[in-house]
């Protein structure tokens, strides 16, 4: 099943000179985990905004082409309801707290209160999410006094508790320290197991290699290539688009250049270890 279908999309932000998205064609399928990589300013966040209906409902500008999300054209969607069906977590952990709740528990519950869910169900769902994400120790704390990493985990909880059909996660770890990053990866790992459709924008390429089913590479508003993670991340040409490839993939290419090609180009450390074993390295 296709959840989001983009056909011949061109988009220009208001007052902007160039197009932020050019000839974008893609179909996002239900239950898959997509990784979105590429240079800064390549259109990754714009693509996220389009899927979520922020374009054209929140940002005006010039949009041509056909964008269909959940079987309805994006222009005809009720912006408020679409925002709820597609969960969104972004870079800045500080701007994702409401600023009106005095405990993390209430902060996470806010989305459900806004939907008019019965109190007993709210309590069950919020406690469930806190347990799932392992943030029980934060429950009674003031969300406005947490560290960036803790806030980002609360931001995830506040979105996950709403049980969205799809999640768009835009560089969740770019402002976090290694510990905070590890905690957020842990959450993403759990989300993958839940089988939801996920679009993750991330520069940490090893994370993409480990979790994503498919990868899209964006450059100057185009989707330059897309496909199975193994096929895409093993391509050396990605470096020409200012996108990274995993260190182990570079190793694979260098082995080939040295005249000792591996049976395939590894993208994760596990694969590299396996290939090294094949060679008799112990």
């Amino acid at each position: 099943m296709v959840v989001a279908k983009l056909k011949d999309i061109n988009y220009k932000y208001p007052l902007a000179e160039g197009y932020a998205l050019k000839d974008v064609n893609f179909e996002f399928e239900a239950g898959k985990f997509y990784g979105l990589i590429g240079e800064n300013g390549g259109g990754k966040t714009t693509l996220c905004n389009l899927i979520r209906g922020l374009i054209p409902h929140f940002y005006n500008g010039e949009l041509t082409g056909e964008a269909v999300v959940f079987d309805t054209d994006i222009k005809e969607h009720n912006a408020e309801e679409l925002a709820v069906r597609i969960g969104y977590v972004f870079q800045n952990p500080f701007n994702q707290m409401s600023g009106i709740k005095s405990t993390v528990f209430e902060e996470i519950a806010m989305g459900l209160e806004n939907l008019g869910i019965e109190k007993e169900e709210i309590i069950e769902r919020v406690s469930g999410v806190c347990e799932l994400l392992g943030i029980e120790e934060l429950m009674t704390k003031n969300p406005n006094e947490l560290s960036g990493g803790q806030r980002q985990r609360v931001a995830f909880a506040a979105i996950i508790v709403m049980d969205n059909d799809m999640l768009v996660i835009d560089e969740p770890t770019s402002q976090l320290d290694p510990h905070g990053t590890e905690m957020v990866f842990e959450i993403i790992r759990k989300l993958k197991d839940s089988g939801k459709t996920i679009v993750l924008v991330e520069h940490k390429i090893d994370l993409i290699a480990e979790y994503c089913d498919e990868v899209l590479v964006m450059d100057k508003g185009h989707i330059v290539c897309s496909g199975k993670t193994q096929d895409i991340l093993s391509r050396k040409e990605l470096l020409d688009y200012d996108a990274q490839i995993p260190q182990v993939a570079i190793w694979g290419h260098e082995m080939a250049e040295a005249g000792k090609p591996l049976s395939y180009i590894p993208i994760t450390v596990e694969q590299a270890v396996e290939l090294a074993r094949e060679r008799g390295v112990r």
Binding site: E113, N114, G116, K119
Partner: protein
């Protein structure tokens, strides 16, 4: 401990003091009306009696210090100022005593001054007492229950956090501008010059974070049109509280009627 915390949402919020536990709107109604009645009755005996009542209530609710801090300031400024002004503006003949042996203090001016000071103090006391014994979120909760939109409620509550955040940002921007060589200390001219490089990033930053925040809040169903539920609930207004409010309101209506009678009758 966490279970206790979670269970606390299953019942109405508990307060350790009867006065604090009053519904914010009942409290607002009673205090406002009492403050106004002091203005109508305009007698220092009644005004100061109310002030004492407010002080007692504040201490009983364990908010004594946070009440006395602003209140004593108002006593000093308003109270003293009115007494002095009235000495000069009111003509009097009965000299009570001579201050420093020179300045005559007259009875007429003193009484009128005390009357004015007392109602000003009673009125300010009522407002201060309300705010030190009521959490804003509880007030907004009661208002939302009465039909005020949740947008209004959000704006009021978020502005408190925004002030704290802006203050933090100002300090951060000030530090970074200092590091870039902009002088923020010293004489007045220096300080005024530093104003713009600090204000610019602060305002622009606030605008861009507002955009992000509204996107984040929309993802939390903020704009979805439906009746909200409340995780944190206040008790329904008990009968005795309703009777108290009606009694205070009746007393106020009686005072107004008496005042009108005094003026026209």
């Amino acid at each position: 401990m966490e279970n206790n915390f979670i269970n606390s949402f299953r019942e109405y919020q508990k307060f350790d003091n009867g006065f604090i536990a009053l519904n914010p709107l009942s409290k607002l109604n009673m205090l406002f009306v009492l403050g106004f009645s002091a203005m109508l009755i305009n007698s220092w005996r009644y005004g100061f009696l109310l002030c004492i009542l407010f002080i007692v209530l504040a201490f009983a609710a364990k908010r004594g210090m946070s009440f006395m801090k602003p209140f004593s300031l108002i006593v000093l400024i308003f109270g003293f100022f009115t007494l002095v002004i009235r000495q000069f503006s009111v003509e009097g003949h009965t000299v009570l005593f001579k201050l420093f042996g020179v300045i005559p203090i007259k009875e007429e001016g003193l009484i009128i001054g005390l009357n004015t000071a007392s109602y000003l103090l009673a009125f300010s006391g009522a407002i201060i007492l309300f705010f030190v014994t009521t959490e804003m979120r509880d007030l907004m909760y009661s208002l939302e229950k009465k039909g005020v939109s949740h947008e209004v409620s959000y704006i009021v509550l978020a502005s408190f956090q925004t002030i704290i955040d802006l203050k933090k940002n100002t300090n951060m921007i000030m530090e970074s501008q200092k590091a870039r060589g902009i002088e923020t200390e010293g004489n007045v001219v220096n300080r005024i010059k530093a104003f713009f490089p600090i204000l610019g990033p602060l305002v622009l930053g606030a605008i861009s974070s507002t955009e992000e925040k509204s996107i984040a809040m929309d993802a939390r169903a903020f704009s979805v049109k439906c009746n909200h539920t409340f995780l944190r609930e206040l008790r329904p207004v008990p009968v005795y509280e309703k009777i108290m409010v009606i009694a205070v309101d009746l007393f106020f209506i009686f005072t107004v009627a008496y005042k009108i009678y005094q003026i026209f009758g």
